[in-house]
Amino acid sequence: MAVAISSPVPEGLYPLLTILFLTVGLVLTASFFIYEITTSSLSRSFPREILTGGASSIFLGLGALFLLLSTGVYV
């Protein structure tokens, strides 16, 4: 008996995951830019920048993927 293959993430969840990931990603992006602009360039901590940038890029990347999938562009 052959097993049907389906997506690793349930397809009904695609729109919800899109909104979730993109929201979190944008909030982290905002936090990144606020940090960059308000602190003076002498006292910025590099690890904090990289961390915020990394986390926001992960969420934005996943959000963009689910955005593409939920709009019908099955990549």
Binding site: A4, I58, G61
Partner: protein
């Protein structure tokens, strides 16, 4: 003399041998042939009842077609039939193999070897059904017609079925789409029925004998031929299989001459051989169906969803008359779980129907491309039909780095009997699906790195201009102010901790934590404050800021002194274990001053922010 006689003997032997090889001691006792000429494809069903009149058991049966028919052959299959009285049931299909026979080249027969289900013993009989379909055998005659005329087609065949065996009894029926028959060759006995012509019965026809007949009759069924069909099936493991089909459809019936009159077509219904309505049967749960051509979307289409299939009825932009052609694209998506499965050995395979989903068309050349997801390895095809060509390509699609493997299958002369499922197997590691989100994440991360780089690096035009220096100074001041603010906040925090300890004291009467927190606060915070203050004075020349900072520092110091006083007092009072009313009264003035100072400090901190 000797040489010629030897030659003769040799020829005789050869003749006997080939004759024996051909005859194989089988005899066709009864033959029934039905030819269906109602559509553009001539479908024939021949039913043989064979007997083994020789001594050796027979395992193979030879079926013959004339060379002309073989050139137009699209499909052939055979099945053994079990006959019980009046009922016939078709049992297992038999393998049909095209074979080369080295007989005299004057006979234009092409042979197919059918392997019998079980070997036929001497005197035994068996029934075999052979079905075959021929395309482009119904030729329009006259080749050009006016819009008001009907279409007449010619069909050439033989009244005797071409067979290498002796046929004892045979009958042929030709089924026609209409009752109008223009002409037909008479090979007695021939009988013309309502929509049928019966040739036969003929008895004891010798092997490989033919009696050519030509029928000319009316056939207004759509002669829709797809010249080229490019079908692309793209698999995405995120849940979808896309199918895109590019058609080049042509009407191969009698060509239209004398112009097309729209009025006649619509008002009088002229143009009976033209067709307009096309239908495609798609798999169930097909969605996102589109029908367009180079100009754009074509809206004359309807979709009906049924439990086992989806029916799309569509019309081209204009009706198709003889010789007219049209190009369009039909596309749809189906869910992944209906078509891609996991094989027991861990590889995946796509199970899709071959051929065109269009109803009643002949495809002259079909190119099916199966696009496998990125990261697929070792593709292989299993198809129960003979494919003309098979090769691999690479296609670059969404979010691709190296490209996707494409398996390309080509076949010529495809009819509806070829719509059978075929499988494309491939190996896929599920982790390869991560490549797509990782690429997106990497892209966004590069954007953030670029922002960081831009904000960090300093590329002024001149390093000694006044504006640049002023900006540098401003940054330093800002920096120091921020550090100072941080420090103040910490001191405030410590003060609040002390207050909390005092409150605890009021409730519980426990002195020890009070003393501990006092010790913490007396630590080196004051040293840091001093350092910042000095740095600020050294670098800044803006007096307003400086004065504010100084004011803040002094106030804060006052507040701190007050707090410490209050603390010491409270502790003493509690150690002396006085009553709470007295404690409160003694603390009251200190409290007031303390809160006043606290508010002043807060105000100054706020003013520092601008």
């Amino acid at each position: 003399m000797a040489a010629s006689s030897l030659c003769l003997i040799g020829c005789l032997a050869l003749w006997i041998l080939t004759g024996a090889a051909l005859a194989e001691d089988l005899v066709v006792a009864k033959l029934d042939r039905r030819v269906d000429l109602t559509s553009q494809v001539a479908r024939t069903l021949v039913s043989f009842k064979i007997e083994n009149s020789g001594s050796d058991p027979a395992t193979k049966f030879l079926f013959a077609l004339s060379k002309d028919q073989f050139d137009h052959l699209a499909y052939i299959s055979a099945a053994s039939v079990s006959v019980k009285g009046k009922s016939r049931t078709q049992s297992a299909p038999l393998t049909v193999k095209e074979v080369e026979k080295k007989e005299d080249p004057s006979s234009d027969a092409v042979y197919f070897e059918i392997s019998l289900e079980k070997s036929l013993e001497q005197g035994q009989a068996a029934t075999i059904d052979v079905q075959y379909a021929l395309t482009h055998t119904l030729t329009p005659f006259p080749r050009e017609i006016r819009q008001s005329e009907t279409q007449l087609v010619l069909y050439h065949d033989s009244a005797y079925v071409l067979s290498p065996y002796l046929v004892k009894f045979q009958t042929t029926f030709f089924k026609l789409p209409g009752s109008r028959v223009e002409s037909y060759t008479k090979v007695e006995p021939t009988k013309l029925g309502d929509k049928e012509i019966k040739y036969g019965p003929y008895e004891n026809v010798s092997p490989l004998s033919q009696a050519p007949v030509t029928l000319q009759f009316e056939n207004n069924r759509p002669f829709a031929v797809v010249e080229t069909l490019e079908q692309e099936i793209e698999i995405s493991h995120w849940g979808n299989v896309y199918a895109t089909e590019n058609y080049h459809l042509k009407h191969t019936g009698a060509r239209l001459k004398g112009g097309f009159s729209r009025l006649d077509y619509q008002a009088k219904g002229n143009g009976v051989s033209a067709f307009r309505y096309l239908a495609a049967i798609l798999p169930p749960r097909a969605h996102s169906i589109y029908y367009r051509d180079e100009i754009g979307n074509i809206s004359t289409s309807h979709v009906r969803n049924e439990p086992k299939r989806t029916i799309v009825e569509f019309e081209p932009r204009y009706p198709l008359f003889g010789g007219w052609q049209v190009k369009f694209t039909l596309g749809y998506s189906v869910p992944l779980q209906d078509f891609v499965f996991l094989a027991p050995d861990g590889s995946r395979y796509l199970n899709f129907t071959f051929g065109s989903p269009l109803v009643d068309v002949v495809v002259e050349k079909i190119t099916t491309k199966v696009v496998l997801p990125e990261g697929s390895r070792d593709p292989s095809v299993e198809a129960p039909l003979a494919l003309d060509e098979q090769h691999q390509e690479v296609k670059h699609s969404y979010l691709d780095t190296v490209g996707r493997k494409v398996v390309v299958l080509t076949k010529k002369n495809v009819v509806a009997e070829h719509n059978v499922p075929f499988q494309v197997k491939y190996k896929f590691n599920p982790l390869a699906m991560l490549a797509e989100p990782l690429m997106l994440i990497f892209g966004f991360f590069c954007f953030f790195l670029a922002c960081m780089a831009y904000l960090h690096f300093d590329f002024p035009i001149s390093k000694s201009s006044a504006a640049y220096q002023a900006r540098l100074q401003q940054e330093e001041v800002l920096d120091l102010l921020q550090r100072f603010q941080k420090l103040m906040k910490r001191r405030l925090f410590e003060a609040e901790k002390l207050e909390a300890a005092l409150r605890d004291l009021a409730r519980t009467g426990d002195v020890a934590p009070c003393k501990a927190s006092k010790k913490l606060v007396d630590a080196t915070l004051s040293k840091e404050v001093k350092a910042i203050h000095e740095a600020l004075q050294a670098t800044s020349r803006s007096s307003s800021v400086n004065s504010k900072v100084e004011a803040l520092i002094t106030k804060e110091k006052e507040k701190h002194e007050r707090l410490l006083q209050k603390l010491n007092l409270t502790v003493d009072l509690y150690e002396r274990k006085m009553s709470s009313k007295e404690i409160d009264s003694r603390l009251a003035p200190h409290e007031q001053k303390y809160t006043h100072l606290k508010s002043e400090v807060a105000e100054l901190m706020d003013s520092l922010d601008d």
